[in-house]
């Protein structure tokens, strides 16, 4: 009888041992999933709501995502209205108080970086503009560093029992990351001042970092697919101000960029845009290694 009781108590203790359970992190985009993994290691159990082949503006609040939000200890998203069409539904229907806006379990990466393209006036006639500025902050590794600092602090706050480990992991990551940035900066010298065309206004932070110049955007308005007539106009504009390459993201329809590349005679560069967007972009380091390799190949080919 005593043995049975002891066994039952042991089983109960095992079942109710959240102290040893990994912190459940739900990342809205793959880059933040990868960052949470770097900072949390085995302390975190990371799940990512979207893939590199999905348009983060256009996700549906699917039942599977609601279920994952329900169980998350920490939700890590870009913010800056990128997920305005779906994240509020996930949060409202989750019944999870820990991850509501304003709570420690709700983390918006864009709150911790200097944002670009903040519209002077907000008018939908300009397309789907984001009042909070351009939300595609993950294409600049300096932003990743700033977010890493804030996210590590937040992990420490949500999972105080492992605060020291998060601190150590974050310090190690920052050291590796700053070395990588220095390497990328050196590699990217040939890209400085290069005029380029983009399919979506998704690379303003990349250009800001590398000193590239966006001379034209294929989408007539952010989020609006370019028509044939509009592409003709873009082609005409390139006659006056030529671009050296045209960039599009892995999740996008490559046809507008390919059409322009063929007709303007410039290389077409598929940017992984996030972790998983190419075979080489397996993690954050691979993401920037591969992005730079693709840009340099296109720049060198001319």
């Amino acid at each position: 009888m005593k043995q049975l009781l002891a066994a039952a108590v042991a089983a109960l203790a095992l079942a109710a041992a959240p102290a040893h359970a990994a912190l459940k992190v739900l990342a809205c985009e793959p880059e933040w999933g990868a960052l949470a993994q770097e900072l949390g290691g085995s302390l975190v159990d990371v799940s990512v709501a979207t893939t590199s082949l999905q348009d983060p503006h256009q996700i549906q609040a699917r039942p599977s995502l609601i279920a994952r939000t329900r169980n998350a200890d920490l939700v890590v998203c870009t913010g800056a209205e990128l997920e305005a069409g779906w994240l509020p539904v996930l949060l409202q229907q989750s019944g999870n108080d820990r991850v509501q806006p304003g709570r420690a379990g709700n983390f918006a990466a864009a709150d911790y970086v200097r944002k670009l393209e903040i519209p002077a006036s907000l008018d939908r006639s300009q397309g789907d503009v984001h009042a909070a500025g351009n939300p595609h902050i993950q294409t600049d590794p300096r932003n990743i560093a700033a977010v890493a600092t804030a996210l590590a602090t937040r992990l420490q706050q949500v999972d105080t029992a492992h605060a020291a480990q998060y601190g150590e992991r974050a310090a190690a990551f920052q050291q590796k990351w700053q070395q990588a940035i220095a390497r990328w900066n050196a590699q990217a010298v040939p890209l400085r001042g290069l005029p380029v065309a983009s399919q979506h206004k998704g690379y303003v932070y990349l250009y800001d970092w590398l000193g590239m110049k966006e001379v034209v955007v294929l989408e007539p308005k952010p989020g609006v697919e370019p028509s044939a007539a509009h592409l003709q106009g873009v082609l005409a504009a390139l006659k006056a101000t030529p671009a050296r390459m045209v960039l599009y993201s892995a999740y996008q329809d490559p046809r507008p960029s390919e059409w322009l590349g063929k007709n303007a005679g410039i290389p077409v560069v598929k940017i992984p845009f996030t972790v998983g967007g190419s075979d080489a972009a397996k993690d954050l380091f691979g993401l920037f290694d591969d992005t730079l390799a693709r840009l340099l190949a296109a720049a060198g080919g001319k």
Binding site: P63, A67, A84, A150, Q174, E225
Partner: protein, 475 residues
């Protein structure tokens, strides 16, 4: 801050109050209130911007070291790790928002503008769904012919405090009425997957019922909804939702309400006139497929509910029903999008089956014979619809539906009431074009065989535009 809230409250009271008693409020005064609120926000945002510009400059100077690395390529500079990271158990981080990265406005307003042109081959005034005795006021059929303002809707939502969120949807109908479609408060802090809602809301039974009309894929509600749920069942009451802590989506919602609308009736009674429970499950199959399916049950009580009927020789009469209605709803939706990216192409298949029983007594011909007797009816109906976005911005949809009125049992009054024969059916084809996620134009053609006799050919051109806050849509 306080005055903002007073204004927000005023807007709500204005709308709610006038819907209850006063004549329709002029929308201009609502707009004036909103404009005043906006002006106030803009002032505050400008003040914030001033303060944050300083912070931004500080942030820029922090980035200077990173920039200087560019000047010296190859040099490996390892900056000191920020102290906040190295020191465990730090206090809450203070976000460093920049410029307009201010929090969203305290009250988010959205306005749905919708209008339509309808052409029907038969007169909508004598529309009915054969075999389904409904209240004379029932919202059925294609509405009015010609040009009309379709339902336009003002939506207001905000977090109230750390514990509650509020939402109100105020509908402006074509005939200058204002009605409160939904107005509820909802908890945000119960945790454990629990959410409690109180106020007026659309019931969670089925799939389409809880969704606002402007998010539907067709102009009108399916016949089964019109005949068995009063188009869309909403009530005043409470709802408790619980989401299971499993990887598979599993949710239960239970509701209690006064039963103020069909199939119930508003009465002077303590307790609940309506009870409903719904269970839904769902998930993904690979990256490209997702689904949700559920079963719901609704019970509502009616007292002296007027139902339009006709006598054995075909003259219109009014019967009064007192008793219980039970509605079972089975719903399923399956969505496909290549790699889970619906922006270019996607497909949605959706079906619901409704089964309704009414059990109680009926007074036949209330203004004439007034003959009481027992009443019992079992009725059912279903619809199946597919929506295909074949290229960006363009969708085509097909809906097929059929009702089974059964044979109602009028007990002692059998013979006094005329019975319809045949099953109502309807086929609908829809094409819509959405220049952006905020605007949509739609063309719909339907062959409606709800009435006996010739089919009614219904043509509708509709627009739906969304102004204001970026609304998130449920699955």
């Amino acid at each position: 801050m306080e005055s903002t809230w007073r204004r927000a409250g005023l807007v709500l009271c204005l709308a709610a109050g006038s819907a209850a008693a006063q004549p329709a409020p002029d929308t201009q005064s609502l707009r004036r209130e909103l404009d005043a609120m906006r002006a106030e926000y803009e002032q505050r945002i400008r003040a914030l911007e001033e303060r944050l510009r300083a912070a931004e400059q500080a942030a820029q100077s922090q980035q200077a070291p990173a920039q200087s690395q560019q000047a010296a390529p190859g040099a490996v500079v390892v900056p000191a790790v920020p102290a906040a990271v190295a020191v465990p158990a730090v206090p809450a981080p203070s976000p460093t928002p920049t410029a307009r990265a201010s929090p969203p406005p305290l009250l988010e307003a959205s306005l749905i503008l919708s209008g339509q042109y309808t052409h029907t081959s038969r007169d909508p005034a004598d529309y009915r769904i054969r075999g389904f005795p409904l209240p004379p006021t029932a919202e059925i059929g294609p509405g009015t012919r010609g040009f009309s303002l379709a339902e336009s809707e003002l939506g207001l939502t905000a977090n109230i405090d750390p514990w509650f969120r509020g939402f109100a949807a105020i509908a402006f109908t074509p005939d200058n009425q204002v009605s409160v479609e939904e107005a509820y408060v909802q908890t945000t802090s119960l945790g454990q997957g629990l959410t409690l809602k109180a106020g007026r809301f659309f019931s969670s039974v089925g799939y389409l019922n809880a969704q606002h009309a402007h998010t539907w894929d067709f102009v009108d509600a399916p016949l089964a909804y019109q005949a068995m749920l009063g188009r869309q069942f909403g009530d005043d009451g409470v709802q408790l939702a619980w989401l299971a802590p499993t990887d598979q989506f599993f949710e239960i919602r239970a509701e209690l309400g006064r039963g103020r609308s069909f199939p119930g009736t508003d009465t002077n009674r303590n307790g609940a006139g309506m009870a409903a429970v719904s269970a839904h499950s769902g998930g993904d199959i690979g990256d490209s497929h997702s689904w949700r399916a559920g079963l719901s049950f609704l019970r509502a009580r009616a007292d002296n509910q007027d139902l339009a009927a006709f006598d054995s020789v075909g003259n219109p009469i009014t019967n009064a029903f007192t008793g219980n209605t039970r509605v079972w709803v089975a719903d399923a939706v399956w969505k496909w999008a290549p790699n889970g990216n619906p922006s270019r192409q996607n497909f949605k298949l959706q079906a619901e089956y409704l089964y309704s029983t009414r059990d109680g007594s009926v007074v036949v011909d209330t203004t004439g014979l007034a003959s009481p007797g027992n009443f019992r009816a079992s009725q059912s109906g279903w619809y199946l619809q597919g929506l295909y976005q074949f290229m960006p911005r363009w969708r085509v949809g097909l809906r097929t539906e059929r009702l089974n009125p059964g044979v109602p049992d009028y007990g002692a009054n059998a013979g006094l009431v005329g019975l319809d024969s045949g099953n109502p059916t309807k086929q609908t084809l829809m094409l819509d074009w959405s220049p952006s996620e905020f605007s949509r134009w739609r063309l719909q053609a339907a062959q409606d065989r709800a009435r006996p006799g010739d089919p009614d050919w219904q043509w509708t051109v509709q627009y739906q535009m969304s102004l204001g806050a970026h609304g998130a849509h449920s699955y």
